[in-house]
């Protein structure tokens, strides 16, 4: 009897090409991903079913939580210019080094007078310090000035109107939110975004 010998097939496939593609994609995603900066004031945003995304640039975020207001601005050049304008307004001078550091910083919640102390800290230590919030009462309305000067800075740098987003804590009482909205409306900013979390369809 003739014995038919089965040809033994190799079970391992050549993975080189697959590996190449996988690493190419990996490199792409790593390079495009932006590192998440730790938030200065963590808030629990309320959920909504609306699915509009926030813009990536030309955006100022006002975070409201625990009765405090924090301010954050996107774009390095815009931040530098806004800080410069604010320094001029309040008579505080910032060195070039401080400006560069501020450009890379996350949101802050201190009066402009003590901003350089916060800038001097390491980014890991910044969140440990209790920041009192940007002053927003009628005697010393620095939040208003920040918004105003950021808008100027954004128009100068990017030639676009600055978008404002309000990020409020779910448990924050309405008057605190209303106060910020009033400050915005005093500058004729009548449309802005409210940052919300994601909610399921079946709400």
């Amino acid at each position: 009897m003739a014995k038919i010998k089965m040809k033994k097939k190799s079970t391992s496939t050549d993975m080189t090409a697959m590996c190449d593609v996988a690493f190419l994609l990996l490199t792409f995603f790593i390079l495009t991903a932006t590192a998440k900066v730790p938030e200065a004031l963590p808030v629990d945003t309320p959920a909504s079913t609306v699915q509009t995304k926030l813009p990536e640039s030309d955006l100022a975020t006002i975070t409201i939580g625990k009765g405090k207001v924090f301010f954050d601005l996107k774009g390095r050049e815009v931040r530098k210019r806004a800080l410069e304008l604010m320094g001029e307004k309040y008579g505080v001078t910032f060195t070039q080094e401080e400006m560069d550091k501020f450009a890379l910083m996350e949101g802050f919640g201190v009066p402009i007078q003590s901003l350089s102390q916060i800038i001097a800290l390491k980014s890991a230590d910044r969140n440990k310090v209790e920041q009192p919030g940007v002053p927003k009462d009628s005697l010393d309305n620095q939040l208003k000035e920040w918004i105003y000067n950021s808008r100027i800075a954004n128009i100068e740098t990017n030639d676009k109107e600055l978008q404002i987003a309000i990020k409020g804590d779910a448990k924050e009482e309405y008057p605190a939110i209303k106060k910020v909205m009033d400050i915005l409306q005093d500058q004729k900013i009548n449309s802005f975004s409210l940052v919300t979390g994601l909610r399921g369809k079946d709400f």
């Binding site: 995603f29 909504s48 609306v50 409201i64 779910a170 909610r199 709400f203």
Partner: protein
């Protein structure tokens, strides 16, 4: 043999033959890892962008004497009062003379509460006006004790139900305050 011998050519005697190594490396684990990382980065980059809800407010009138009151049909308006502890009261029409079935009543947030009422009223108002341009008008009045979540929830309801006109009004009449406090 088509092998390049890069020997210096000095000694011809002792030829050291190197062991022939397998050129193939098992890449399975490497590919596994790469795809795991790809998945991770893909998911984190697209999902990290926060959601937002755009809100437009009417122009603020600086001069209170110059107020231009716009007259609206009270049969088209529904007023929603937001109180503390997620309390929600709505009435249809005027508070003193509400339309049929529109007396002040408590509701809960969500699918089985205010949403049904909103959909129902929206339909009724359209039947009443018979004009698609003139839909329901919802007036949202958040009280001082209401929180931000309540406001977002009710604005979300407006988006879900697709209410054509809604406004956030901040002034309370004494009767309305009583309504929210009263049980």
């Amino acid at each position: 043999m088509a092998e390049l011998n890069t020997d210096g050519g000095g000694d011809k005697g002792g030829k050291v033959r190197s062991k022939k190594q397998n050129a193939k490396v098992d890449l399975t684990a490497m590919v596994d890892l790469a795809f795991l990382l790809i998945t991770f980065f893909m998911l984190t980059t697209t999902l990290s962008k926060p959601q937002s809800m755009s809100l437009g407010l009417p122009d603020k009138e600086d001069d209170p004497n110059k107020k231009t009151d716009v007259k609206v049909d009270e049969n088209r308006t529904m007023t929603i009062l937001l109180g503390d502890n997620d309390k929600l009261v709505r009435y249809v029409g005027l508070l003193a003379t509400p339309v049929a079935g529109g007396t002040p009543k408590d509701f809960v947030y969500g699918k089985d509460g205010i949403r049904k009422e909103l959909i129902d009223r929206k339909k009724k108002v359209l039947e009443y006006t018979g004009n698609k341009e003139k839909g329901i008008i919802v007036i949202i009045k958040p009280s001082k004790k209401s929180n931000y979540r309540n406001l977002i929830d009710i604005l979300d309801e407006m988006a879900i139900v697709d209410v054509p006109t809604y406004a956030i009004v901040n002034d309370f009449t004494p009767e309305e305050t009583k309504l929210l406090e009263g049980k």
